[in-house]
Amino acid sequence: MLQVSLLSKSFPRVPQVLHEVSFTLRDGEFLSVIGPSGAGKTTLFRILNGMERCDSGQVLYGSVPFQSAVGQQKRAVQRTIGTIYQDFCLVENSTAMQNVLNACLPELSLAAVLLGRFGPARMRKAAAILREVGLEDKLEEPVKRLSGGQKQRVAIARALMRDPSVLLADEPVASLDPVTGRQILDLLKEVQRSRGVSVLMNSHNLELSLAYSDHIIGLHRGRVVFDGPPDAVTDAVLARIYGQAGVEP
């Protein structure tokens, strides 16, 4: 379970990117954060995966307070989070297999990393996960030769390699065409069901978010303006989230 309470964040040039944001991601749930550009979705993500610190508030993974964890403790939490990104963040010159194995770096010594010795057990696991996401024939293919959808599958496989309890997906389909985007979301849904992983996705694509999620959080200018199931998202709610020309919600 991921619990976010009263999270606030400001940048020197942009005050109040996030203002007292609170919500809960329950185990095995598919949650989407929606909102217009500049609503604070990406900052929220960077705080949740530990790349950014919040000014105040609390992030609890299970019972561990994440925002105050440092060093070993922080890494221990990071290991239970899988993240996938809009631009995939894969090493283009490395193969699909090598990219998936990169998820194991925290457990290896520097010497093993330099020699590329990951051990047969990890190799088998990586191959099995790549099969699971439908890339059984692309194991040794350099990522630069894969299509966008295939790259996102590799990224999902890399995230799954650590058996995460939470999967953070930052605009996972924004760089993909509509058909491939749906296939990727089908895969995420499948992973959520079969592995019992909670998924937290932020997306510009309202239609897809409503279709695939169990739980919607609406952000507007850094504040939560909606928290509920997708079928409760009415036109009035959307007006509050996305705002209307000249009308403040």
């Binding site: 790349m51 990071q78 899988g82 963040c89 283009e92 090598q98 770096l105 990393v113």
Partner: protein, 510 residues
């Protein structure tokens, strides 16, 4: 419209600077024309080469190759950890980054020849000093290129791995290293090639290799023997270039070899490196003493400021201005010849036999060490800055052609084909379809060449061809370390200024 006006302004500015620099270096095409007979005279005497001389050349040629291979590999290997420390996005202690970057910038200001002369004071006369100088030279250039590559590499994958809890060094080796590896290897190969040419002149200052013999034969006017040395040097450089072209294609993934082939290649490379390194003669430390090192460093660290503020022709200011002017005019003249030559040497615009002929001519121009041009041209135009300009112009033709043809080789030909389909001539296709696309890479090659020429111009002094090199080398040979300190500081400042200027130009180009 505004862009056009800016281009015109830049062009006029360049033209004005060119004319001023040409006046300063007393360029005189009339003199060159009236004494042209001397040029053809020497060129004709190089043929036929003295074939019996070859067996005396081979051992020295091997020493030259040995120095370049060891120097390049060691320098490139040391550059990798240094670049890791220097790169801004990677974690580390900022003051350490700043100090190391500054040190690399200082080292980069000196040509290999000056480093080699300095090395002979520590390590004695011989190949060991030359190897040490090439190692330092390669290290400085490779560190700079590699940390710039790291800073321009996509860092998303690195941060993604960091977010998963990877230590930073682990994440660097798995996420950033594979992305910069092709360019790292390509740069290393390029430096190996240029180091072979550099090491051919290190003998001038007693740092081993073929240079000493070459100098001797040029001063004794035994041109048939010079011809033999140049021929063998040409063959070596051509072989090196062919090898490097093949390896570059391999690195860029355009040619593939099997796993066995890769292992064989790596094995051969390792064997060659070990052979070159282990057979190096040991340094001659008999004349090195702590006292000497102490005097050298205290001297250099207390530069003779009076040189700085002298306004006549022996002042640092004038010497630097002359050096900069020589390189500027040399680069511009080189460009005028390099642009048509690089098109003529491309089989994408001209028939294969024509292209092949011109490519061979360009390789031949490039394979002659530039000091040799200096020594030959000095007999034509006499000592002075004009000889320096001509020397750098000839060298720039060779090296600019290489960069230019690389840009032409990766050019998008579809616009040109579209014009061809409408019946446009070769010339029209180059003017309207190729040149607009090529302007940015050509400008960037020119800036790079200017940067290198500034450093090479400071060596021209060896051939009495003007610039800051002659006083610097005299001062070093007279152990006048205070003067060396002042002149070296001047060179560092000039290199730094040119660096800032070319960075600004690059930003404009983008």
């Amino acid at each position: 419209m505004k862009r056009r006006r800016i281009s015109l302004l830049v062009f006029l500015l360049c033209a004005a600077v060119f004319l001023a620099a040409a006046w300063l270096t007393s360029c005189d095409l009339g003199l060159m024309w009236s004494r042209r007979a001397h040029l053809t005279d020497i060129a004709l005497k190089l043929f036929p080469p003295d074939w019996s001389f070859a067996q005396k050349v081979f051992p020295l040629l091997w020493a030259t190759v040995q120095m370049s291979v060891t120097g390049t590999v060691l320098g490139a290997a040391l550059a990798l950890p240094a670049a890791l420390v220097c790169a801004r996005p990677l974690p580390g202690f900022p003051p350490v980054k700043q100090v190391l970057r500054f040190l690399v910038q200082v080292l980069r200001s000196f040509p290999a020849l000056i480093l080699a002369l300095l090395a002979t004071f520590f390590l004695g006369i011989g190949s060991f000093a030359g190897t040490a100088a090439l190692t330092v030279y390669t290290f400085a250039i490779m560190t700079r290129l590699t940390y710039e590559d790291i800073e321009h590499a996509p860092l998303g994958p690195y941060y993604a791995l960091r977010a998963m809890g990877s230590p930073s060094l682990h994440a660097f080796f798995r996420a950033v290293f594979p992305e910069i590896l092709p360019s790292y290897l390509t740069n290393t190969l390029y430096l190996l090639e240029s180091n072979v040419r550099h090491s051919a002149i290190l003998g001038y200052v007693g740092a081993g290799g073929i240079g000493l013999l070459l100098n001797e034969k040029v001063s004794w006017r035994e041109y048939d023997k010079v011809g033999m040395i140049l021929l063998l040097l040409f063959v070596t450089v051509a072989l090196m270039e062919a090898l490097s072209r093949f390896l570059t294609r391999l690195v860029q993934g355009e040619t593939a070899i099997g796993r066995l082939g890769k292992r064989l290649l790596l094995g051969t490379a390792a064997f060659l490196f070990l052979l070159c390194t282990l057979t190096l003669p040991p340094p001659d430390l008999s004349r090195t003493s702590l006292q000497m090192v102490h005097t050298l460093f205290t001297g250099i660290l207390h530069p003779d400021w009076s040189l700085f503020f002298r306004m006549d022709r022996s002042g640092v200011g004038y010497l630097l201005l002359e050096t900069a002017a020589i390189s500027f005019v040399g680069t511009c003249v080189g460009m005028v010849f390099a642009v048509p030559l690089s098109f003529l040497s491309s089989s994408r615009f001209f028939p294969a036999p024509v292209a092949w002929t011109f490519r061979t001519i360009i390789t031949a121009i490039r394979s002659v060490p530039f000091l040799i041009y200096g020594l030959i041209l000095i007999r034509v135009c006499g000592p002075g800055a004009f000889t320096g300009v001509l020397t750098l112009a000839v060298c720039s033709v060779g090296l600019l052609c290489k960069r230019f043809s690389e840009a032409i080789d990766v050019l998008d030909l579809r616009p040109s084909q579209a014009l061809e389909a409408m019946g446009a001539s070769s010339m029209a296709r180059i003017r309207y379809a190729a040149l607009p696309q090529l302007a940015p890479p050509f400008c960037s090659a020119l800036l790079y060449r200017f940067d290198v020429n500034i450093r090479e111009a400071s060596v021209l002094g060896l051939a009495a061809a003007g610039g800051i090199g002659a006083p610097l080398i005299f001062a070093m040979n007279q152990y006048a370390w205070n003067e060396v300190g002042a002149l070296a500081l001047g060179m560092i400042l000039l290199a730094w200024l040119v660096d800032l200027l070319s960075a600004a130009c690059r930003r404009l180009l983008r």
